[in-house]
């Protein structure tokens, strides 16, 4: 099994407040890893450390994160983020841009301005995000005019357009209705053929449906990390079992 991201002794801070305590785990290539745990356990902070978005809000971190063996703290965060796309909890399409330009934004703002060259990429990404059929006739409409679920798929297409290797998803379906959620989950299933996916979720069923591996966090500690099937049938730790069975959290 090929390791895509290797995390060793990762600690994350907000000021002096330590929110992640010595987390170590390996994320295998072309698999889906779900991060579960109660609110405030550091799930979001964890994935925001991976693409160094943690430092954007003034946080700091220690330990090492290796992407294909390369230390992410030593590369330019701008280049790193091109390799690790991110989808946020709340859909956040660019309000001043059309659907087309939303998808093309990452490429356009990095210098590829030729619409003829962008056209096939936008189409491919919208198809990958299962949104093409719904928007192919109105690519010039405002991205904001789409429904919540469509906006989120637009954001996924936007993240895919810069051709990342890893996709970080921070509760991508928690603001969506069940039908849109199903679409996003089907999508994750498709996407893992080409991408390594790390998904934070509050929803245990979702974790068990979409992921190959699951990590359970509790107040900044990584309690357990194993294959999802094992995690949800016979976890090693009592604490994990209690959480999965809904006895706390």
């Amino acid at each position: 099994m090929e390791i895509k991201i290797s995390i060793k002794n990762l600690e994350a801070f907000y000021g002096k407040n330590r929110v992640l305590k010595s987390v170590s785990l390996d994320i295998p290539k072309n698999k889906v890893v779900a991060i579960i745990g109660p609110s405030g356990c550091g799930k979001s902070t964890f994935i925001r450390c991976l693409n160094r978005m943690h430092e954007v809000v003034g946080g700091s971190m220690t330990g090492s994160i290796l992407l294909d063996g390369e230390d992410v703290t030593k590369v330019d965060p701008v280049l790193l983020r091109k390799r690790m796309g991110m989808v946020f909890q709340k859909p956040n399409p660019f309000p001043t841009m059309s659907i087309f330009n939303n998808v093309a934004a990452g490429l356009k703002l990095n210098g590829l301005r030729n619409n003829k060259k962008l056209q096939p990429i936008v189409e491919k990404c919208l198809k990958q995000a299962a949104l093409w059929e719904e928007v192919k006739n109105n690519l010039d409409d405002a991205g904001m005019n789409l429904s919540g679920g469509q906006q989120q798929r637009l954001c996924i297409a936007r993240a895919l357009a810069v051709d990342p290797e890893v996709l970080l998803m921070d509760e991508p379906a928690s603001a969506l209705d069940p039908i849109s959620t199903t679409k996003i989950e089907d999508l994750i299933f498709e996407l893992k053929k080409n991408y390594t996916i790390v998904i934070v979720t509050h929803n245990m069923q979702q974790a068990s449906r979409v992921s190959d591996y699951t990590a359970f966090f509790y107040v900044g500690d990584l309690i357990e990390y194993s294959e999802t099937r094992k995690m949800f049938t016979s976890p090693d730790k009592q604490q994990t079992e209690d959480y999965i069975r809904g006895r706390f959290g």
């Binding site: 954007v56 701008v78 946020f88 956040n92 309000p95 001043t96 934004a105 703002l109 991205g143 936007r158």
Partner: protein, 289 residues
């Protein structure tokens, strides 16, 4: 209501209703009080200014006292040039300062700049005129449009800076994160996503700055001075509507007084057209603040 949640209407119920009605009326009275002066301003300017308003007013030059007709073509063009010059200085400085303050100015330096901008917005315009006089007119040894433009530009800066900062602050943080997470460098995220989203608000600030500058008289009196003749040379004194209004309104001649009203009306029209143009330019089918 006979039954249901509210069983009795007691004293407190009526007291609350009474307070509500009183407060509502007070806000309405205040609103009307705010509108009345505006209505009067429009009423007087239009009713008094309309007499001399004709196409000729826009294309003809002023005539000596006693001669009928004439216009203020030089002053209209002069005002446009002066606010244009002011804009060349004030708009870029204001927008860039506002952007800096909101995106990078969360430090001591930013605090000081913010404070100074507030101080600048409180400085009387005539003082800014004196500064432009000392800095530009004295070394050049004569009055000039460029001196007037500099004075107006300085006056625009605080309005544009603060509006830009406030409008950029309204852009959700999620959009900045979305940009950065796509591997777009921060400066480009700021320009292409944040500023773009706040564009309409910033344009409103620019318009406010330009309108305020167009209505200034005091700083122009000893910078651009005024000019009876046609001049588009920015190195020379230049006519402006406000200075014409000032000169003509205090003159003893009846027809000059009348023309001052017309000049005032034209100034209001000019600002309205400017505002309309901004609306059209910034109109977009995509949502912005």
């Amino acid at each position: 209501m006979e039954s249901g949640i509210i069983k009795e209407k007691n004293f407190f119920h009526y007291k609350k209703k009474f307070t509500s009605v009183v407060m509502m009326s007070l806000t309405m009275v205040a609103t009307i009080a705010a509108i009345v002066p505006l209505v009067f301003i429009f009423y007087y300017t239009i009713s008094k200014g309309i007499t001399y308003l004709s196409p000729q007013f826009f294309v003809a030059m002023p005539k000596p006292v006693g001669e009928p007709g004439g216009g203020m073509a030089n002053a209209i063009v002069g005002t446009l040039i002066l606010i244009g010059l002011g804009g060349i200085i004030g708009i870029p400085v204001g927008i860039m300062t506002g952007t800096y303050l909101s995106e990078f100015g969360h430090n001591k330096f930013g605090y000081v700049v913010r404070f100074l901008t507030d101080v600048l917005s409180g400085v009387p315009s005539i003082v800014v005129g004196v500064v432009a006089y000392t800095m530009v007119v004295m070394p050049m040894k004569h009055f000039s449009a460029i001196a007037g433009g500099i004075a107006l530009g300085i006056l625009m800066i605080p309005t544009i800076t603060r509006t830009t900062e406030e409008m950029i602050k309204l852009v959700p943080h999620a959009l900045r994160e979305a940009g950065l997470a796509l591997g777009i460098p921060k400066w480009k995220t700021t320009l292409a996503i944040v500023l773009r989203s706040a564009w309409k608000g910033i344009a409103t600030g620019v318009l406010l700055g330009l309108s305020r500058a167009a209505g200034e008289t005091a700083p122009l009196l000893f910078t651009a001075l005024g000019n009876r003749f046609w001049s588009t040379n920015i190195g020379q004194p230049m006519a402006s509507l406000t200075v014409y209004i000032y000169d003509y309104a205090k003159s003893p001649f009846e027809d000059w007084n009348q023309q001052a009203w017309t000049a005032a009306l034209v100034l209001i029209l000019l600002i309205s057209i400017l505002s309309l143009l901004f609306r059209i330019i910034t109109r977009s089918k995509y949502k912005t603040n």
